[in-house]
């Protein structure tokens, strides 16, 4: 019975990954076309990612002068694996959890902390200056998103008195964390953009580096890198839905349906930032993070702590 449940959970993580990546690519195309003032064609946008993938898959994987070939090949796989581990920590419905560990929040945080390794390897391995600057940048800003991310997740775990995610979801039965801890979700989403190096925080792969960490990557590796990046966004949205929007809780429909709706509600604005917010310079982001975002996240955990103490009386 238990084994069957795990199989179902793993399969559903796979399904959610594929569907989430596809949805993310689709939304990105649609919003991009709308912002560009072009006719929005939802059906064309459904097939466009496949066309791009086919065209890219037909290209050879090139190499550079004396790259670190092993780590270069490893980087996209590592990023995808980390994102999948993060997603596996999220319960998609009551009892439907691939990585059913006692401290799922820690597992998620640990997987997300290692994303920095994958991105740095992707930038450093090809032995090429602009990708390397991309890798450097990600290291430089790493703590600036990791600390708020970890702190707001801890704050979300406080009312549940548990580091497992299912109790965090059920602790929101009467009041979602988005209301209880109003600072949490905005800080979490900002940190999530940094983690997925997307939109305003697309620092390692910015246009000023002509693609940065993935500039030298071609063929199947390029596809994998893109998919892995979108999967990080999906994992961020799913975890946000679970710990801030009450996860599977909701009337009438089954829990999984609520979970999907809430994940999409977070995923769409995350994706859309790319078309509305310009890339933020690395140094200014780091300054703002340490001067404003990290103190705010500490305030968030402080408020959550007081609430927990009051509730315990």
């Amino acid at each position: 019975m238990n084994a069957l449940r795990v199989v179902i959970a793993v399969l559903s993580v796979g399904t959610v990954s594929v569907a989430g990546i596809y949805l993310a690519a689709w939304v990105d195309l649609l919003v991009g076309r709308a912002v560009a003032g072009l006719e929005v064609r939802p059906l064309d946008a459904l097939i466009a990612p496949l066309r791009w993938g086919a065209a890219t898959a037909l290209k050879a994987r090139t190499t550079t002068e004396r790259p670190d070939a092993e780590t270069w090949a490893l980087a996209p796989a590592l990023l995808a694996a980390l994102a999948a581990v993060g997603l596996a920590a999220v319960p998609l419905a009551p009892g439907l959890l691939a990585a059913d560990v006692a401290n799922g929040i820690v597992l998620f945080g640990a997987a997300m902390a290692l994303v920095v390794v994958a991105v740095f390897l992707q930038g450093w391995s090809p032995n090429s200056p602009l990708p390397m600057i991309g890798g450097y940048r990600f290291i430089a800003e790493g703590l600036s998103y990791e600390i708020p991310l970890a702190v707001v997740l801890i704050a979300a775990a406080l009312p549940a008195r548990s580091l497992a995610i299912a109790p965090i979801v059920t602790s929101q039965e009467h009041l979602w964390n988005i209301v209880r801890q109003p600072l949490g979700l905005p800080l979490y989403l900002m940190a999530g953009l940094g983690l997925a190096f997307w939109g305003p925080l697309a620092l390692p792969g910015g246009q000023d580096l002509a693609g940065g960490s993935s500039l030298e990557t071609s063929g199947v590796s390029r596809i994998l890198w893109r998919l892995a990046q979108l999967l990080v966004l999906v994992a961020v949205a799913a975890m946000g839905a679970a710990v801030f929007l009450g996860g599977w809780l909701g009337p009438l429909f089954p829990g999984a349906a609520w979970m999907i709706v809430k994940t999409v509600i977070l995923l769409v604005p995350l994706i859309a930032t790319r078309h509305f917010v310009a890339r933020v310079p690395t140094e200014r982001y780091v300054v703002v993070s340490w001067a404003i975002l990290i103190p705010l996240s500490l305030l968030d955990v402080f408020i959550a702590g007081i609430q927990a103490l009051v509730a315990a009386r």
């Binding site: 066309r51 037909l58 600057i133 071609s218 078309h275 917010v277 933020v280």
Partner: protein
């Protein structure tokens, strides 16, 4: 084979991904390619199917184009266009030694309107295997032999220094935080997408901080873009140059100025990460009319409200008043409080009530604002001007600065770059270069072209 064929069929619906190499006389064509739904202009040759060779390239730039070509993953192809249908190659300043064209199987188009369709066709043939991938143009060898000198063989002291394979190995130096970190020497350009085509810089970077910038050789930074054969000025350039010697409708000049600034803005937005909005602006640049200027006003409001753009440009690339005074003029100087504008000297503009747009700050944000305000002002002037003509006074205010003076603004900006960029993070350096709007063709030969224009 079945899978490949199926993938090729699926891929045939995608836009052709092109890396564009832009030489002289192509600046009327290159920016608009981004509007074509058949094409996707990509930032990296690694992501490209087709190398687009546009306009006339000199020796240096052609060699760099060959390097870009070899970086493209097979299957790949080359599509070339040049004005007047000749091989898009020019000759080095001496003139007697033609450079050999490195691409053996490029597809040539004569009509620039055919470029997108020809690209798609070429890409489809390549991906379906009906056409062979274009072979390497350069030998796959080290630029110089490894030199077995010193304890680790690379020729330096300890583990640093030396020039293995002809490239200086990273050397350690103090950084701004008092740490000792690797410094590496990188040559960027002439085709780095955020930079103006043809700009080559030797940059010493530590992490992402620029420690030193130099301009390698005059030939590399100022490719002899227009000296091959008769210099031919097309489109916008021809219009502004014509105004040196003959009266030209003010409305035409001002619409061309507004269009230039909007094309610049589209690119600046793209480099800032707002690619889709940049595309919207590019479309606006193509379709705008002086009598319907509201979209440009809306754009200006949107830009003013966008906090992220302010954040990325405020205080970046500061051009001081004294540096501005050393420039011949142009929007960069006007954004730093220097009010010189050749239009102020023209009585035709005086009758239209023209006053130059001037801001005091001198940072990249001020330069964005000056250009956007000038675009709005240019459209308003064009509408007021009716049939009035400019007065040929031997000096014309071009979109990048005065034309017909001793020295072009673009040339002055290029020489200013090294001192301006030192100490910046890479991202700020790119923001700065983009905000200066350097026209490499103008930097190469403005004075001579102007003199030739006056003589004729």
């Amino acid at each position: 084979m079945g899978v490949k064929a199926a993938l090729a069929r699926l891929a045939a619906g995608a836009p052709a991904r092109c890396f564009a190499v832009v030489g002289a006389e192509a600046d009327e064509i290159a920016p608009w390619l981004r509007l074509d739904p058949e094409l996707a202009i990509v930032d990296s040759p690694r992501a490209a199917d087709v190398l687009l060779v546009l306009g006339r390239l000199d020796d240096e730039m052609l060699r760099a184009a060959a390097g870009v070509h070899d970086a493209m993953p097979p299957p790949r192809g080359v599509l070339s266009w040049s004005p007047r249908g000749e091989r898009p190659v020019s000759w080095p300043p001496g003139g007697e030694r033609p450079v050999s064209w490195p691409f053996t199987d490029d597809v040539r188009v004569d009509d620039p309107a055919q470029i997108p369709a020809a690209c798609r066709r070429l890409r489809d043939e390549l991906l379906s295997g009906r056409r062979a991938s274009s072979p390497d143009t350069l030998p796959d060898i080290d630029p110089a032999p490894w030199r077995g000198v010193g304890p680790f063989g690379q020729g330096g002291a300890g583990m640093t220094g030396g020039v293995p394979y002809g490239r200086p190995l990273a050397a350690r130096a103090d950084d701004r935080d008092g740490l000792k970190l690797d410094q590496i020497l990188v040559r960027v350009g002439p085709y780095l997408p955020p930079f103006p085509s043809g700009l080559v810089l030797d940059v010493k970077i530590q992490g992402d901080v620029i420690q030193e910038v130099s301009i390698p050789t005059p030939a590399a930074v100022a490719p002899d873009l227009m000296s091959a054969g008769a210099p031919s000025l097309t489109g916008e350039r021809a219009l502004f140059n014509a105004a040196l010697t003959q009266p030209v409708p003010v409305a035409d000049i001002e619409v061309a100025r507004a269009r230039h600034h909007l094309v610049w803005l589209a690119e600046a937005l793209r480099v800032s990460g707002l690619e889709a909005y940049g595309r919207r602006v590019l479309k606006l640049a193509r379709t705008m009319r002086p009598e319907a200027a509201e979209p440009v006003d809306d754009l200006s409001r949107w830009l003013r409200r966008n906090m992220s753009l302010r954040w990325g440009t405020r205080g970046v690339g500061m051009v001081s008043a004294s540096r501005a005074a050393a420039l011949p003029g142009g929007p960069v100087a006007r954004a730093a409080g220097d009010g010189r504008d050749a239009r102020s000297l023209d009585p035709a503009y005086g009758r239209l009530g023209f006053t130059p747009v001037v801001l005091e700050v001198g940072d990249a944000l001020a330069r964005w604002r000056v250009r956007i305000d000038e675009a709005q002002q240019a459209l308003a002037l064009a509408q007021r001007a009716g049939q009035s003509l400019t007065t040929p006074i031997g000096l014309v205010e071009g979109p990048c600065g005065p034309i017909g003076g001793d020295r072009s603004t673009s040339a002055a900006l290029v020489t200013m770059l090294p001192e301006l960029l030192v100490g910046m993070e890479w991202g700020d350096a790119v923001t700065t270069v983009v905000s200066l709007d350097i026209d490499m063709a103008e930097a190469a030969l403005p004075h001579d072209a102007a003199v030739a224009g006056r003589a004729s």
